[in-house]
């Protein structure tokens, strides 16, 4: 018996099958968002006497039920909030902060370590506006930290944190952690929230 060559498999429909699968995955794919603004809630504890804080060290941000913004008793647009928060934090009113570039206004905050931002919102405030305000306030802190890091270590704060979380980063993590802590000490995020 003569050997017969095996007939070749017709692969013409392979493309069709692949297309079918492709379309299935295209339709079912939802690219999930997995990023956001990290916050830490204050722990539940017995009401102790609140520490005495000078009024000039508090930056009040009020959001009402109609999504209107009241900052330091003045109506403000959302786009101006970041700059206002920045100039408040970076003010350095009592001269104890040698790296602050602010206006050194006696009526505004003494030192970034003492400055507190107080955010109050109403039950009727929409989440979208709340996030927008949170974002602007966090941005003010981030900008200041970036500038401070740039002046001290010639690297932005965001970069330093990215390096710290990067497993393949070659430098010394301990030294980097100390630097990050230093920046965080210079510009601590003090953001208190209340709901009416």
């Amino acid at each position: 018996m003569a050997k017969r060559a095996a007939p070749e498999v017709n692969a013409g429909s392979m493309a069709d099958i692949a297309f079918l699968l492709l379309i299935f995955f295209l339709v079912t794919t939802t690219i999930e968002t997995d990023s956001g603004i990290n916050r830490k809630l204050p722990p539940m504890e017995e009401q102790t006497d609140p520490p005495v804080i000078k009024k000039k060290n508090i930056f009040t941000v009020l959001l009402n039920g109609k999504d209107e913004l009241l900052v330091e008793d003045e109506i403000m647009e959302l786009k101006d909030l970041r700059l206002a928060a920045r100039s408040f934090l970076d003010n350095g009113g009592d001269g104890s902060c040698d790296f602050c570039k602010g206006a050194r206004d006696k009526e505004s905050s003494d030192n970034p370590t003492k400055a507190i931002i107080s955010l109050a919102n109403n039950r009727e405030t929409t989440y979208k506006t709340y996030i927008a305000v949170q974002n602007e306030l966090v941005a003010a802190y981030n900008e200041l930290r970036n500038e401070r890091a740039m002046a001290l270590y010639n690297k932005t704060f965001a970069e330093m944190e990215a390096n710290y979380n990067d497993v393949n980063w070659p430098g010394s993590k301990d030294a980097l952690k100390k630097k990050i802590e230093q920046i965080k000490l210079d510009y601590p995020q003090k953001l208190s929230e209340v709901q009416e």
Partner: protein, 158 residues
């Protein structure tokens, strides 16, 4: 006579489609790898707000998701106010504590302190609900939270 005879017919040759399956397979693999199957079927509208100062949630298995928003079109019987969804069903604010405890129990003990609660809330929900959720989270001492947002400008989408 002429040496340059026209080819017979002069038809355009058919395009070779032999590499088409390869291209399609390439796309297919991309989507297969990029696909994350949803764990929860959403019963609410979940149009996340925009923000640009975002941090990435890196450890996916250490995240507990709380959804909130208006019931979507198929679930109109649950009203038109924003509601909380835990796992696959609507939940009351009081159920958050037991949800968190159940999630904690399902993780290894040494990982429990690193658990983060991701709040996936519709941009039109009101803050009253979020405030209640946060209060419940404080009661069970789940203090690390993340407001999940899309990346984009705050001002442009307001």
């Amino acid at each position: 006579m002429s040496k340059f005879k026209k080819k017979k017919g002069g038809e355009i040759p058919a395009v070779n489609t032999a590499s088409l399956p390869d291209i399609v397979f390439m796309l297919l693999f991309f989507f297969m790898v990029a696909t994350v199957m949803r764990q929860n079927t959403l019963m609410i509208e979940n149009n996340l707000p925009f923000a640009d100062q975002v941090e990435k949630l890196d450890k996916k298995d250490l995240v507990m998701y709380i959804y909130a928003g208006k019931p979507s079109a198929n679930y109109k019987q649950f009203g038109n106010q924003a509601r909380i969804q835990l796992n696959d069903k609507f939940a009351d604010v009081k159920e958050i504590a037991s949800f968190i405890n159940a999630e904690r129990a399902s993780k290894r003990e040494e990982l429990v302190p690193f658990l983060t609660t991701a709040l996936k809330v519709d941009s039109n929900a009101n803050m009253g609900l979020i405030g209640d959720i946060k209060q419940e989270l404080r009661k069970v001492n789940a203090l690390k939270i993340n407001y999940t947002t899309k990346k984009g400008s705050v001002l442009g989408n307001n």
